[in-house]
């Protein structure tokens, strides 16, 4: 046990119950002053609940146990209480107002007032500029936030936290939506903040980041503290953390698969796509193909045009002035609408399942049937009993954890939602599945299940294209990997010859050097 004096924060025997479920049971958390402390655990392990207890979202009295800040007990009644003591949370979904400026966002709720209670804009913008410099963001404070990328918005959030005199900064999945460059920048900023005396708590699924920057790690499982790991020794590996999270060893992240590619299923030739509103090519003269029983990866930095390429192929649902040829089973097809693409055996599972993939207020059954409803209908009449049967069999095959197929999709965990998305597309009986970030925001156990499902599909002769920001995922799952940079395909690497370094190099290749 670490001595109390060193700890900025201690949470002791925290128990929080919701009607019928104990979300947290006797959870203990100790964070040393000036360290980066990681909290990991599968989805539903209680990480977010614990942070809500800490920040006062669940007010003192609604849980059991005690919280010590600087060794003395605290009883937060709300976020304002915890913020006044220097605890600030930055949530995964950023809480910025898009059409307000950076400066206005930073001082939202904490406006810099001058004479007569009016806002002193000069001071506001000058202060904001100083804060932006401290997080290494070179932007004008009057720029509207909507014009910034996610990575920069994240930095604005941190600047906002610093403006509140933060001492304990909590970041919930800070790099989930960031590309590698922005992630690296954020992590180095966290190191700098730590060195300046700001303690950081970081919730993350990305174990490589945890092993890279955390000084210590608390592992939660099923609402209990499993262990506290000291990372300084460098002996704690990702596998070690996973063992704590899932309570067992996972032999491998990626299930084995024997690759036996067959005939070509999908091919695109000279595919170019223009941005819907700007005059530039988002996809520039791309050629690729995928065979039955094959998994092909598309690697690229954010903004390289991966999703845009996939969506333009999928019934031209992105971009304009699309040129090029699309072949399915060697036959040229003109999939001008999503419905035509589906009819031609193409399926596309989006990277953002909540916004583009699911009807969150509808149940599992109707989400699964959404894309293939005509298969259940005769003359426009839906056979709803058949629909339930289909949903039930998907629930079984995919191991969707829900009380019934009538459960509302919005209440499922990320992993189970993704299984619903996959079920929906499998019900259209596609020949080729384009999976865009298939495991984003999903816990380790569910990831493994998704990989297993993908392998099963490939074994059944489907062709699969995976778009992913996680290179290890591509290396673990694919037979071949295409790299995309600024809309151009810069390379095609068989997995046997691929390494992260080699892929990164191709992904970062700029237009000129491609020729």
């Amino acid at each position: 046990m670490v001595s109390t004096d060193d700890n900025i924060l201690e949470m002791r025997r925290i128990t929080k119950t919701f009607p019928g479920v104990a979300a947290l049971q006797d959870v203990t958390l100790a964070v040393r002053r000036g360290e980066i402390h990681a909290i990991c655990g599968e989805n539903g392990a209680g990480k977010s609940t614990l942070m809500k207890v800490l920040s006062g979202v669940y007010p003192s009295g609604s849980y059991d146990g005690e919280i010590l800040l600087d060794g003395e007990p605290v009883h937060f009644k709300g976020i304002r209480d915890s913020e006044s003591r220097g605890i600030v949370i930055i949530h995964q979904e950023l809480a910025l107002v898009p059409y307000l400026s950076i400066a206005e966002n930073i001082f939202l709720g904490n406006e810099q007032r001058g004479a007569g209670g009016l806002i002193d804009w000069n001071r506001t913008n000058a202060e904001a500029a100083r804060l932006l410099a401290s997080v290494g963001l070179a932007e004008n404070p009057v720029t509207p936030v909507v014009q910034l990328g996610v990575g920069k918005q994240q930095l604005v959030e941190i600047a906002k936290a610093i403006s509140k005199k933060v001492r304990l900064l909590i970041l919930d999945e800070p790099t989930a939506a960031l590309n590698d460059v922005d992630s690296a920048h954020l992590l180095s900023l966290m190191r700098r903040l730590r060195d300046e005396g700001i303690t950081c708590i970081m919730i993350s699924h990305k174990l490589n980041e945890i092993t890279a920057i955390a000084d210590s790690t608390t592992v939660l499982r099923d609402g209990r503290t499993v262990e506290r790991l000291e990372m300084a020794s460098g002996e704690v590996t990702q596998e070690r953390i996973i063992r704590g999270m899932v309570g067992r060893d996972i032999d491998s992240f990626y299930p084995d698969r024997v690759s036996t590619p067959g005939e070509e299923v999908l091919r695109i030739e000279d595919w170019s796509v223009r941005h819907p509103t700007q005059d530039r090519l988002v996809v520039d003269d791309a050629n690729l193909n995928v065979r039955a029983g094959e998994v092909v990866g598309i690697a690229g930095l954010m903004g390289a045009g991966r999703t845009e390429l996939a969506m333009s192929v999928f019934g031209r649902s992105y971009g304009r002035d699309i040129t090029g040829r699309l072949f399915v089973h060697g036959r040229e097809v003109r999939a001008r609408t999503v419905a035509e693409a589906i009819r031609n055996g193409i399926a596309y599972a989006t990277e953002d399942r909540k916004r583009f993939g699911l009807n969150l207020i509808e149940d599992i059954r109707r989400n699964i049937s959404a894309a293939g409803l005509r298969r259940l209908a005769r003359l426009g009449w839906v056979n709803d009993n058949e629909e339930i049967k289909v949903a039930e069999s998907s629930r079984r095959d995919m191991n969707i954890k829900a009380p019934s197929v009538m459960s509302v999709v919005g209440k499922l965990s990320g992993g189970n939602q993704q299984k619903v998305v996959l079920s929906k597309w499998l019900f259209t009986d596609p020949d080729v599945l384009i999976l865009d970030e298939p495991t984003r925001g999903i816990d380790v156990g569910a990831k493994f299940e998704i990989y297993t499902i993908i392998n099963r599909l490939v074994a059944d002769g489907k062709a699969v294209i995976i778009i992913s920001s996680e290179l290890p995922e591509l290396l673990g799952m694919c037979d071949r990997i295409y790299t995309l940079s600024a809309g151009r395909i810069t390379g095609q690497v068989p997995v046997a010859e691929a390494t992260q370094e080699k892929l990164m190099e191709l992904m970062a290749k700029d237009k000129e050097s491609v020729g």
């Binding site: 993939g357 699964i368 426009g380 499998l426």
Partner: protein, 415 residues
């Protein structure tokens, strides 16, 4: 093959699997009520309001004559509410229906009264105008991409103006007797009866029999697919309750003037649109669009086409309401249908439709409309001042939606 396509091949596995689902079958009345709070809540509200006004008016509100009156007086609002709830499920709104009711009625009046055409030519002309208006709205909403609020606000002004034009700013009346029968006519005396109309009772009996048969068929299909079904006792109790209410209703009508023709029209529309929303690909796609537009688009739903037809349908039902209203008022007036859109919208929301789209039912909208109807009618019987009536209706709408929002928040918090 992991395809989840229905096939006879997986029949064997299907036998074991849905068994897992069987235990979630809801026969416990409390669970049933909790699960269907959104729906059952308004049924309870309707019963309470009916009982309240029966008490306040010493049973006058439940008298045969008054029951008939309610049907005649509010049928066109209910017809509008059917179309409106579909519009709202799709994530839109239609502010123009009152003006369209006026316009279609006016066109019909001009054709029948001024030009002396037969009554059915007037009906067809009104329907054609309604469809054209719907297509106009649908075009702007679906293909140009203007929010329905704006398009139909413009339509509200536009079609009110056209109504004035068509009528030359004066009222037209009266319609010939055949046209009048649409909203004021009754089917009765066809098979006699002493002091009551046996035909009305017969139709009521047929309706109940049809309901029972369809319940049994649904239940049998669910059993065949090994889906959970409610306990048999509850099943019978539910049918008995519905049957009793329908027969009582028919009994009351039979002791007044018989079966209103407009009730037959309304019942047919409710039946058709109930099935349309629940059981057809089109209906499902409306829910999908309202629930998540982007997801629907990326699932191959032809969003524009669906939106277009949603508004064409609204135009059609506005015309039906326009015909009924002009028939009932025995003429066309420039100010006809004023504020009807708000009654129809209120009915849909009281009936559980969500402001954000994706949620709502035709039956719910009918119950919502009936709640408004029974309240207005009851207050009129009691001689409550018009101003107070409006205040009460406004508050009921607010409370109903607040209840809905509260419910949703609670459901969200319990995850």
């Amino acid at each position: 093959m992991t395809s989840t396509r229905p096939s006879s091949a997986d029949k064997k596995s299907a036998e074991s699997a849905p068994a897992a689902a069987l235990h979630v079958g809801t026969s416990d009345p409390r669970t049933l009520i909790m699960n269907n709070l959104r729906q059952s809540g308004i049924f309870v509200a309707l019963v309470v309001i009916v009982a309240l006004f029966a008490f306040l008016t010493d049973g006058l509100s439940l008298s045969p004559g008054n029951i008939t009156n309610i049907v005649l007086q509010y049928s066109y609002i209910l017809v509008l509410a059917i179309g409106m709830v579909i519009v709202i499920i799709g994530g839109h709104i239609d502010l123009s229906v009152g003006s369209v009711v006026a316009l279609t009625g006016a066109v019909s009046a001009v054709v029948v009264i001024r030009q002396g055409q037969p009554w059915w030519v007037g009906v067809l002309a009104a329907l054609a105008v309604g469809l054209a208006v719907g297509a106009w709205h649908g075009f702007w909403v679906a293909y140009v991409g203007i929010p329905a609020f704006i398009v139909t606000l413009a339509g509200m002004l536009l079609f009110r103006g056209l109504t004035l034009r068509v009528l030359d700013n004066i009222s037209l009346s009266p319609f010939p007797a055949e046209y009048n029968r649409i909203a004021a006519g009754f089917l009765n005396g066809l098979i006699g009866g002493d002091g009551y109309d046996a035909f009305t009772l017969l139709i009521g009996g047929i309706a109940v029999a049809g309901y029972v048969v369809s319940c049994f068929r649904t239940r049998a299909a669910r059993v065949r697919y090994q889906q959970p079904v409610e306990s048999f006792a509850l099943f019978v109790a539910r049918m008995a309750l519905v049957g009793a209410v329908v027969m009582w209703f028919a009994w009351q009508l039979a002791h007044a003037r018989g079966l209103p023709i407009v009730l037959i029209i309304l019942a047919a529309l409710v039946l058709v649109y109930g099935l349309l929303t629940r059981r057809t690909v089109f209906g499902r796609q409306v829910y999908a669009i309202g629930g998540n537009l982007s997801a629907a688009m990326l699932s191959g739903v032809k969003v524009r086409t669906v939106n277009f037809w949603i508004f064409v349908n609204m135009g059609f039902l506005s015309a039906v309401a326009g015909i009924i209203f002009s028939s009932r008022s025995n003429g066309a007036q420039p100010a006809a249908g004023n504020m009807f859109e708000l009654d129809a919208i209120a009915a849909a929301f009281i009936g559980g439709a969500a402001v954000t789209g994706g949620v709502g039912t035709v039956v719910g909208a009918m119950v919502g409309g009936l709640i408004m109807a029974v309240m207005s009618n009851g207050m009129q019987l009691m001689g409550v001042d018009q101003s107070l009536q409006s205040v009460v209706k406004g508050l009921v709408l607010l409370v109903a939606v607040a209840f809905d929002v509260y419910n949703k928040r609670r459901a969200g918090a319990s995850r």
